[in-house]
Every structure is written in C-alpha cells, then in structure tokens.
Symmetry: none
Subunit: 257 residues, 2 copies
Amino acid sequence: MENISIGQYDLVYNAFSFAFATLAAATIFFWLSRSEVAPQYKTALTITGLVTFIAAYHYLRIFESWQASYDVINGSVAASGYAFNEAYRYVDWLLTVPLLLIELILVMGLGRAETTSRATRLGLLAALMIILGYPGEIATTNGARLLWGCLSMIPFLFIVYELFVGLSKSIAAQPSDARGLISAARYVVVGSWAFYPVVYFAGAIGLAGGDSLVVIQVGYTISDITAKAVFGVLIFMIAQRKSAPYFSALNVAGKPV
Amino acid sequence: MENISIGQYDLVYNAFSFAFATLAAATIFFWLSRSEVAPQYKTALTITGLVTFIAAYHYLRIFESWQASYDVINGSVAASGYAFNEAYRYVDWLLTVPLLLIELILVMGLGRAETTSRATRLGLLAALMIILGYPGEIATTNGARLLWGCLSMIPFLFIVYELFVGLSKSIAAQPSDARGLISAARYVVVGSWAFYPVVYFAGAIGLAGGDSLVVIQVGYTISDITAKAVFGVLIFMIAQRKSAPYFSALNVAGKPV
C-alpha cells in the first residue's frame, strides 16, 4: 500500500464508516417507505433498498479491508502487508448499477412490455459496462487500461442515449409533478458516474501516491452515496407523488402524504 | 490518550454502552410506532428512527474505539497506543442533525412547497454548521479553533432564527393539543446543543486532562440522547395527537389511540 499520513488514513477510514452508516440507514428508509406508495411502485422501492443494502455490505467489507491494510499505533501509519481489496467495488457495481437503472424504469410505471424491454436492455448494458471495465482496472499497462476503458465506454454511451433519447417520450407522458424529478434522477445517476473515469485513468493522467489514493477513495465514496442513496431519495419522492391519486381514491387520510 | 483512573474509564465505558442501548431501543420504538400514526406522519417517524439508528451505530463504534484505546487489566488502566476516534461524532452529526430538524418539519404537516423549502434550508444550515465546526475540532491552535467555532455559529444562529421566528406562524396554526409539544421540541433540540460549545472550547477555557476527557465524553453522551431519543419521543407524541382525528374518522377501535 501507498505511504499515507495519519490524517489521510483517518479521512478515508471515516469516509468508509460514513458511507456504511448512510447506506444502511437509506436501506431501512426505502424499505419502510414501501407502505407509503401505491402497490405498483412497491417493487421500485424494494429494489432501491436492495441497491443501498448491497452497497452498505460492501462498504463494511471495504472499511474492514482498509483497517487491515495499515497498522496504526501511537499516531504512526505503516502498510501492514495485507492488500486493500479494491475488487469489492466491481463486485458491488456489477449488482447495483443494473439494479439502479431498473429502479428508474420501474418507478416510471410504464406498460408491462415496455418495462421488461427497457429494464432488460439497461440492465444488460450496465453489466457489460462494469465487466468490460474490470480487466482494465487490474491491467498492469496503460495500453490495456486504455483499451478496456474505451470498450467499457461503448455500453456507457448506449445507456446515456437510452436515458436521454430513448426515454424522452415516456418521461413527457409522466404526471407533471413527477416529470421534473424523473428527469433530474437521470442527471444524478449519470452525473455521479462522471468521477469514475477520472479515477480509472488516474495513473494515465499522472495521479499517484498517497494523495491520489485518498482522493480516489473519498471520491468513489461520494459518487456511490450520490448514485445510490441520493438517487434513491428521488425515486422515493417520485413514487410518493405518483401514489397521491391512489391514496386520494382510497379516501384514507383525506390529505395526500 | 490521557491518563485516567479505572473509575473514570468505567464511567465512560458504561455511558457509551448505555447510549447504544438507549438509542437502539428508541429506534425500534419509533419504527414500530409507525403503525400508530396517520399516513402523513409515517415518514416523520421513519426518519426519527433513522436518526437514533445512525447514532446507535456510531455509539457502538465509539464504544469499541474506547475499549481499544486503553489496556485495562488487574485494575490498572494504561493508554494502548491506539487512538480514540473522536471523528465518529462529526460523521454522526453530519447525518443526524439535518435529519432531526427535518423530522420536526415533517411532523408539522405543512404544505408540500413549504415542507420542501423549510426542510431543505434547515438541513443545509445544519450540515454547514457541522462542516464548519470540524476544522476547529482538529485544529492544534486555540486561534484556529476560535475562528472555525465562530464561523460555525453563523449557521447555528440562522437555525435558531428559523425555528423561533420563521416557524412561529406555522406553529400557531397547529392543532391546540400539539402546539405546546412542537414548541417544546424546539427548546429540547436547541437546549441539548448548549453543551457542545462548552466542550468545543474546553481547551480555551482551561479544561484539560483526564477529568476533562470524562466530562466531555459523558456530556456529549447525555446531549446526544436528549437531542435524538428524548426529542424523538416528542415527535412521536406530536404525530400521535395529530393522528387522533384520522383514526376517529376511520372509526376503528372507537377510541383514538
């Protein structure tokens, strides 16, 4: 592992603990909130909570792996000899990135055929994006890293096209008070991914050493919290607004939530 | 770590364990109580439970960090060389302080636009207050500590203004049996924060050594339990009183809960 200062070690340590707490709390929030949306949106919230649950699990593992990779005593930090397992992130993304795109499709409440075809296409593209990125992550040469990175960009561009062109007609057909949030959710998910290529090509663009390690780990953490917990809150708000007519029709509570 | 006696070590140790038990129990109470309030107050209780859940997680970590930072054997206590991680508190507050102000707004049941604007403003002010406090907490000079402490007071004063002036008209419009509790909840939250500056400026006002460490840790623990669990019970009572007409209208059980 890179040589880092005690301040750098603590910053990453606390960022991982913060991510675990945030993602675990978000998971429970999404699952409890299932009772506050109409039946057709419950699956969207179930999956929103699955994404943060899977990410919380991986942040706990990442946190433990970070602790194990350094010996910290009497204010000094030294590499312990145990490797920090970066691969937890890929395992996490392979599961969560397809699922979080599926959340967005589910909360739109499209017809059954359109839901199946769009969710399948986005899910497979997302999985392909992650799978193609991994050989580059573990590559030892910049050439291989560049090759796999560029290959991974192909499904990424299809995802962006699908979200911003393919979905545009369906978004225009959404209820007016949910339309802005659905549109915003696309930007949150794609925007939160903007950090990943920076990290991916960190070596190629000259980022290295302890400072780079800290920027990468804290940056990934912020991106993951945004793409999963913040994005999930938007999904919840969309589901809640779209459920208002259902609860009004049930005539419970009088006033929608 | 400071030199402390076995009695001091045990007092802090038991205070942390007490805090974990209290906050974990409060969490389950708030979540189970979701079924006893009208639909529009369920989210307030979900978030009330999230606050105590996040705090319980952090007290578990703080407890373990305390244990690791001293070697206690045969009735003697010696610093182990492992640092006690005070930063868990800031990570906790960054999440919980915005959320507990949002609880208060949600339980007031204001219109959607007012809820969004007030919750956003209070949430951001609270996060800013915590973020500005942190550099002072880790500062090595009293000057830097004073500077960041004073900067952190600016969002704090805005929060107090928002709670006691901005909200006064909305509080006056609350049902008469909930109004007093909502007003009291503001005093509990702001009052429980009164201890934090005392600790923050402990060095500057001459508190130091083992006695100071014990006062600070036990004081923070009492403040956290008050601001999260006791405050949460008030939120529950407010939600329950405001739900009485809903349950009467549903005509379940005859008598409102």
